[in-house]
């Protein structure tokens, strides 16, 4: 990693952390029992919308760091309880808290182990808590900056999977996939891309690169990579021409499965039946301690299946055929898209910044991160 890019990323994170959050959603539900003047949800959404490169777990961590600077705790236990109440509030406020949970849990875990470290104990015995707190904040910010570099590392590792003459099928406009494909294209690999576009409304994804993958498609085409854009119904038809499927993820769960945009599961199923490898590219801070047993076992609220009969239709006016379409209730938060769970059997390997892992190695990585 070049040091200049490190500094740039650090500066970006820094600036994103220092800009004050606009009080744009005063009516949002977070219930802050203490320090009621800090709106964690507003900070979180603001960070996500202003810094397009920021992933959800990192935005959550950055919000918690801001919390520490905003309402400085003076003791260890105060710090911990502050963090846990606000993490809980943030998770409650989001319809899909999986990605953000990965961040808040990781950060709380980190705070605890930092406070327990001998150096910290030493500092605390000599100095006052302010020093320790400042240390936590500073290293947390550094963590955010460094975690953002992970994407570049993944691009290098993942770029190797893309070989001359191959065709990569992707969907969902993942930023990491985009980085991987860019890296491969920059390296001069001759490959083609099939992009599966969402059939529904243009997605309002949180990145500024374009709507629903247009940015990625245009950029790749600009680099001389031939891109075919297809609808989801053409996926099975196209798979015969495809060498591999590469998707991003919102969260990677303990058994090596992923939680990702709606449609990833069926894409992986199709790829499996066509015997094409499915690679998931995701930063390891997206690893989350969750063990879903199936599609409906995720701690999120989403109404993908909306069964209706005559009476429902009469009540609501018209809206025929609501099935299969996401019912948007949250009202336009970038992360509030329907997700599904792709079980590990359908995944060939996960590409993270620590290397290429088979799904069964995910629990190991989680243990390494956590303990």
């Amino acid at each position: 990693m070049a040091s200049s890019s490190t500094k740039a990323a650090a500066a970006a994170a820094q600036s994103s952390l220092t800009t004050p959050p606009p009080e744009e959603r005063p009516s949002s539900p977070p219930k802050n029992k203490d320090n009621s003047d800090f709106d964690i949800l507003a900070t979180y959404t603001h960070l996500l919308s202003t810094t397009p490169t920021l992933t959800m777990p990192l935005a959550a961590i950055a919000s918690l760091i801001k919390l520490l600077t905003h309402s400085p705790p003076s003791t260890t236990s105060e710090t911990l309880s502050l963090l846990s109440t606000h993490s809980a509030a943030l998770k409650r406020a989001l319809r899909n808290p999986i990605a953000c949970t990965a961040g808040t849990d990781l950060f709380q875990r980190y705070i605890i182990s930092t406070l327990q470290s001998p150096v910290s104990l030493q500092t605390r015995s000599t100095g006052d808590f302010t020093t320790t707190r400042d240390g936590l904040v500073a290293s947390g910010e550094q963590f955010v900056a460094r975690a953002q570099e992970a994407r570049g590392v993944i691009a290098t590792i993942g770029g190797k999977l893309v070989q001359d003459g191959s065709t990569v099928l992707t969907a969902g406009d993942s930023r990491v996939v985009s980085a991987v494909l860019d890296a491969a294209a920059d390296k001069g690999v001759k490959f083609r891309v099939v992009y599966v576009r969402d059939s529904g409304t243009p997605s309002s994804s949180s990145d500024a690169s374009g709507v629903g993958g247009d940015g990625m498609v245009a950029r790749l085409r600009g680099k001389g990579v031939a891109v075919a854009v297809i609808g989801p119904s053409a996926t099975a038809y196209s798979l015969g021409k495809v060498t591999m499927v590469m998707v991003g993820a919102e969260g990677v769960v303990e058994n090596g499965g992923i939680v990702s945009r709606l449609g990833t599961y069926q894409l992986a199923m199709l790829a499996k039946s066509a015997r094409k490898p499915v690679y998931v590219v995701a930063e390891s801070h997206k690893f989350v301690r969750l063990y879903p047993l199936g599609q409906y076992d995720l701690p999120i609220q989403q109404t993908v299946l909306d069964f209706r009969d005559r009476t429902d239709d009469a009540d609501e006016g018209n809206v025929p055929g609501g099935t299969g379409e996401e019912k948007r209730s949250g009202g336009g938060e970038g992360d509030e898209e329907a997700v599904d769970y792709t079980p590990p059997e359908l995944i060939t390997a996960l590409v993270t910044e620590t290397g290429v892992h088979i799904p069964s190695a995910v629990s190991e990585e989680l243990i390494k991160i956590w303990y």
Partner: protein, 446 residues
Amino acid sequence: MPPPAGTLTPGLASFLSSLKSSPIETSVESLVSLLRRRQIRGSRSCAIATAHLLRMVLRNIPVRDVTKLIDRVQQIGQRLAEAQPKELAIGNILRRILGLIRDEAEEDRDREAGGYGETGIGSRNATSITSPDRQPGPTEKRSLLAPNTSTTAPAITSLFSPVPLKSASPTSTPGTHTPGGGSPIAAPLSSTPNTAQDLRAEVVEGVQEIIDELNQADDQIAGYAIDHIHSSEVVLTYRPSMTVQRFILKAAAKRKFTVIHAGPFPNDHWPRRLAGNPNTSLDDDEGNPERFQKSLTVAGVTVVMIPFSAVFALMSRTSKVILDPHIVLADGSLVAPAGARAMAQAASMHQTPVIVLSGVYKLSPVYPSDVKTLIETGNPSSVVGYDQGSLLEKIDIKNPLFDHVPADIVDLYITNLGGHAPSYLYRIIADHYRNEDIHLMRSDLE
């Protein structure tokens, strides 16, 4: 064991015997050219040659500085690996030796650090959420089971590695100075900057252990034979190496069973016929088929030779398929002599268990991003001879010597550590190689 003692022909035996008498640089050169000329081939032979050479290097290089030692070993190792990029075993041995050096260096550093590392869970947290091309740091932990997990105190997770709290950090940049210490049990704080000699002694000892492991792997694997081959079973083998032969013989000492031996056309005899050199079979330690059959018959095993084309037909009667890999990759797939995939596929069609016998030295941390680069292509004239001149002008002939067998059609791996599911191999790999060494051979797969 080492191949034929005909020391006149250049090969592993001649290399090993000349190792002591020649200077390091000459030995490196000679091994590089032996590898290039394929006079040393097969994972085992390559591993043995690499380990012996690097042991010599470690013994003889006057180095005070651990970083320089690592650099030197890495440099030589890379030359060997580049000489024969398809022999991943060279890289495996190199990685393990580098890991040894790093472990010893860390142990010394920890002792110097005055025992910070022993306290707090934080110290056990070294994680690998760092870029793989990061400088080898003390924070990268090999595994939770590794005996020495204590690293420096502020290395909570290297995700964070808190700078402001680092004031008391005992390790600055790794390797700026890393003097060796005494033996690992020696009293802490006793190390002085000029005891790199001790560190080297420890490492050489470790390399010796690796060499012992290479020599014992077959016997250790054979030790599990009784658990897997039962009375009156029908075992199918293909291109059995000494490993498979010992495995079967061990079981034969107690049980009566049948071995079906599929004939490996077209690569069964060509190297010998071609070069007139008994050393250049596909794998140095590949058993001679006739000798294999004879030794088994003597041991009371019924041996049936079949042509490869009959494998599918006989699969329904087979209770087990035993394969021997050339190399095993990080995702649990393997590279084995051509035909192995067809055999494994046939076995999985019939729900017949496929067992792979592999020493740990064959486990490579390399993820097969491009399988094609791992497959060696052999002499096409053994498929279609030059006597078919008119045909040769019209067609392309390829004779791949190896197959890539995906992990999902393998049921069990037996290594010298025991039996493992293919999905568990990553764990063993993580135990044996350090993260910073995995991407050592970047050029391998590019």
